[in-house]
């Protein structure tokens, strides 16, 4: 069984890569054929689930190596199976659904690629035993969701929503990586099974608070918790099947999964409890509250998802066996009804052309099956019997009531949220399906029997599963117990049942439903109030704030880049020179106290002095002359002066080279100079003065550095080696030449290569303008490549 599972999961990715080609063959049937993979996975997982012993969790090793020393290994236990079953099961229905829903879209091949990647990485994330690999899959889900949300990329809203989702979840992904590495360092293993087996809890480690903050950041960004919730309503820009999948079983639930998976390692501390409870509470209430003020069906559902995710986070935070059990069951409940409702929203949109619930009415007669299915899902959402949602809600209430110290705060908020959800559920059904006498009938694009079977299958199957699981909840007992064993290490016999007596929990439930109905009756003033609040909230409209801050950041970056990278060559140099000056000054200051053994300076010879004076005058003349020719000649004079200086100090070879190089350079310069513009003074007086001061400063500092450097002998010079071995080893008398052609022959070869390159460059630069070359030749000048080496 295990091998089949591995192959199937690998198959998802393979299929994902080849889908654009497969689409060319299969066309509209692509979704149908692809849906077999998740179906098979679902069956495999179901078989595993049925065979799973109460406290059994095992690893399926695969030969796929992700990172050195990190095989991809699947961890099978209650928790991963619950998530895996939902992901693959709903994934199957979604693929079937999109086969028809996406029929008129362009680039369907790409759509399926993204969707398959999304599904595969979600499954991989849930099952992977290794935390690093889990992080990798986590990131792939973010990237895949980016492409899916922005699938209609010709619409700006879509692109913006996609970017928002990517930035927020990507930020969470980074914190996850950080946290995972820290956990791995502390525990010595990245494998979940090792962590669980050794009962490692990092609560006492000094880095615990850092890790926990990072993990919570990762979870609440992915799971759209307040204040990061706003990307989720934006994400409904995605095609409906994607929204359905994203909300029901994947993506947003990944954060909840992360919290549940790491609960044994991190959970149970005061910080864990309160941070999760507070975030969850706020999110739960705000989501449910704002849902009633929306008109767009998908948007309403998105806000109820936020509320549901808040509930799950809250339950994980409450941190009792009951609350964990409630969270698990509620995850199933939510996946079943939310997937169905989104698919219904897609059907309604396709048939009527709108998603505005207030623009629709009386659809029951034309869409009876859809209506019944929706009713069942909404009943589950409102938490009424006989749906599984009822059990979920009862468990939640029970878990919250057991809290001794904070139940007075959490219970009212969560009852409030549920009241709103009941009202929302009734409102959706009422607006969509009941007939209003004063309004005209809605014209449908399709009749219900024209809706393809594959599109209806999803919501129907999900609704029926909801009823079945509601009536026979004991089917879940074994899986939930197993998951609880691995989460809390508690041996716990889960006994789910629809009816558990007339007790406090039931009384609160009845109160919830009655108040929900009351709110529905008073919906007009309440909705008005909520809309007003939303408008007031819009001042702090988080998506806009987010976009603005991103834009401002980009603007700031552009501004600072423009300031630094201004494109003015001389200001770059100016900056460079000033910094160098500052550094040199600093270093000279620091060396002030160094002991200096001054070697006696050589005597001043008159002829050398005159040489220096002449050269200096030539250099200064180069700067100030207005004639180009004079500048070059003056430059040559200074170059010759330097050559003489070399000669004076006994460097014969240097002097010869300098003479030759200077001559060649002057020849080239003279040849080119008359094709160049005359000197012009382009800068104003003030600039010249500034540059002059800076240049003088540089000159002074260089002088100081040269004087200092003269006394500095950090290491024994290796010149002695050359002097001793030039003749004995290399058989040459001229030591400088021997160094160049023998000891450092490779350097010289590099030098020749440079010259060759330069010559090629010069040649091609001239070559490309044949006309000019001809003109040059007419004037009797030679080819302008420089002579080869002077060695």
């Amino acid at each position: 069984m295990g091998n089949i599972l591995t192959i199937l999961v690998a198959l998802i990715f393979v299929a994902a890569i080849f889908t654009p080609f497969l689409y060319g063959v299969w066309r509209q049937k692509t979704g149908l054929y692809l849906s077999f993979i998740p179906l098979l996975i679902f069956i495999c997982l179901l078989v595993e689930a049925l065979h799973l012993a109460p406290h059994e969790g095992f690893i399926l090793d695969t030969p796929i190596v992700f990172l050195p020393g990190m095989n991809l290994a699947f961890r099978i236990d209650g928790l991963t199976l619950i998530f895996g079953l939902l992901i693959s099961g709903i994934g199957f229905l979604i693929l079937l659904y999109s086969a028809k829903y996406m029929a008129k879209y362009e680039r369907q091949g790409h759509f399926y690629t993204y969707l398959m990647f999304f599904m595969g990485s979600m499954i991989g994330m849930v099952f992977s035993d290794n935390l690093i690999i889990m992080f990798m899959f986590w990131e792939i889900t973010s990237v895949a969701s980016f492409f899916l949300i922005g699938f209609d990329h010709h619409r700006e809203k879509s692109r913006q929503a996609a970017l928002q989702a990517l930035l927020i979840t990507g930020f969470g992904g980074l914190s996850l990586l950080f946290a995972v590495i820290l956990i791995g360092n502390i525990c010595g293993s990245y494998n979940v099974s090792d962590l669980l087996r050794q009962h490692i809890h990092v609560g006492n480690h000094p880095h615990y608070y850092l890790i926990l903050t990072l993990i919570i950041l990762a979870a609440i960004t992915k799971s759209a918790q307040f204040p990061f919730h706003f990307w989720l309503p934006g994400a409904m820009e995605a095609p409906t099947p994607v929204s359905a999948y994203l909300h029901s079983a994947t993506m947003v639930n990944a954060g909840v999964f992360l919290l549940m998976r790491l609960y044994p390692v991190m959970g149970g501390t005061v910080f864990w409890k309160y941070s999760l409870m507070i975030t969850g509470c706020i999110t739960m209430f705000l989501g449910a509250f704002f849902a009633l003020g929306q008109r767009d069906l998908k948007r309403i559902l998105a806000f109820t998802t936020i509320s549901a995710l808040g509930t799950m986070v809250l339950l994980v935070g409450i941190d009792t066996t009951d609350s964990l059990k409630a969270a698990l069951v509620f995850f199933i409940v939510h996946g079943l009804y939310k997937g169905g409702l989104f698919m219904v929203a897609g059907i309604v949109e396709k048939t009527t052309g709108t998603r505005d619930i207030y623009a629709l009415h009386g659809l029951f007669r034309s869409l009876p099956i859809t209506a019944i299915v929706t009713l069942l899902a909404l009943v589950s959402m409102a938490g009424l019997p006989p749906m599984l949602g009822f059990i979920g809600k009862e468990l939640i209430y029970e878990a919250k009531m057991q809290l001794p110290d904070v139940s007075w705060l959490i219970l009212p908020l969560s009852v409030g949220a549920n009241i709103m959800l009941v009202a929302v559920a009734i409102n959706i059904y009422y607006q969509l399906f009941t007939k209003k006498k004063d309004r005209e009938d809605i014209v449908l694009h399709y009749k219900e029997r024209e809706i393809p079977f594959t599109m209806l299958l999803g919501p129907v199957v999900l609704a029926i599963s909801g009823v079945l699981l509601g009536l026979y909840p004991q089917m879940l007992n074994a899986l939930v117990s197993n998951a609880l064993y691995f989460m809390g290490n508690i041996v716990y016999d889960t006994k789910l049942s629809l009816w558990h007596g007339y007790n406090d929990v039931l009384r609160v439930s009845i109160f919830t439903v009655l108040s929900g109905i009351l709110i529905f009756i008073l919906r007009k003033p309440v909705t008005k109030l909520i809309v007003k609040m939303i408008v007031w909230f819009d001042i702090y409209h988080l998506p806009t704030l987010f976009t603005n801050s991103i834009n401002n950041y980009l603007k700031g970056a552009a501004r600072s880049t423009n300031r630094i990278q201004h494109g003015y060559h001389r200001y770059y140099l100016l900056t460079f020179f000033l910094v160098v000056m500052a550094l040199v000054a600093l270093q000279l200051f620091r060396m002030k106290n160094m002991e200096i053994t001054d070697t006696a300076p050589g005597p001043v010879k008159l002829h050398v002095l005159m040489l220096l004076i002449v050269s200096s005058l030539a250099v200064v003349y180069t700067v100030f002359t207005k004639s180009r020719l004079a500048a070059i000649i003056a430059l040559g004079v200074s170059g010759y002066g330097i050559a003489m200086l070399y000669l004076y100090y006994g460097a014969v070879d240097l002097a010869i080279t300098q003479f030759l190089a200077e001559t060649v350079l002057m020849v080239i310069f003279v040849l080119v100079i008359y094709y160049l513009p005359e000197f012009a003074i382009l800068s104003n007086k003030k600039t010249r003065l500034r540059d002059g001061i800076i240049s003088l400063g540089i000159g002074v500092f260089v002088t100081l550095v040269v004087l200092e450097a003269r006394f500095l002998q950090l290491n024994e010079p290796i010149s002695g080696f050359f002097a001793e071995n030039a003749y004995t080893m290399a058989h040459g008398g001229n030591i400088v030449n021997v160094i160049l052609v023998d000891f450092r022959a490779l350097d010289t070869m590099g030098e020749i290569a440079v010259l060759t390159l330069a010559a090629t460059g010069v040649y091609s630069l001239f070559r490309f303008q044949i006309k000019t070359i001809k003109k040059l030749k007419r004037r009797g000048s030679q080819e302008l490549t420089e002579p080869d080496s002077n060695n």
Binding site: H569, G602, V619, T622, G639, L654, P677, L682, G699, A723
Partner: protein, 117 residues
Amino acid sequence: MEHLIAIFIGLLYACGVYLVLRRSIVKVILGIFLLSNATNLIIFMAGGIKRGGVAIIEEGAEVADPSLISDPLPQALILTAIVISLGMSAYILALKYRYFDVTGTHDLDQLKNTDQR
């Protein structure tokens, strides 16, 4: 004597930097020549110059006395540097020629994009 040469190098640097900071590209190139010459001199000075004999082993002898000859190592380094700077200078000049040919300006501030005139 060394102090004077150090001042001379400083002067070369000052003039080179001043020229490099100009807007006219011809002057910038002149500045680069000056700077490379000056830098060679610095290396030469850094070897700890003393007036010595030429770094050539005399006929018949096998070994030269390091204290009698001028230091051969910086000379070899500078020699390489001179040749390379010659190659570079030739290339820059050719480039400048083409550059003026294509853009029609010698003002670096006018050269803010790669568009031709």
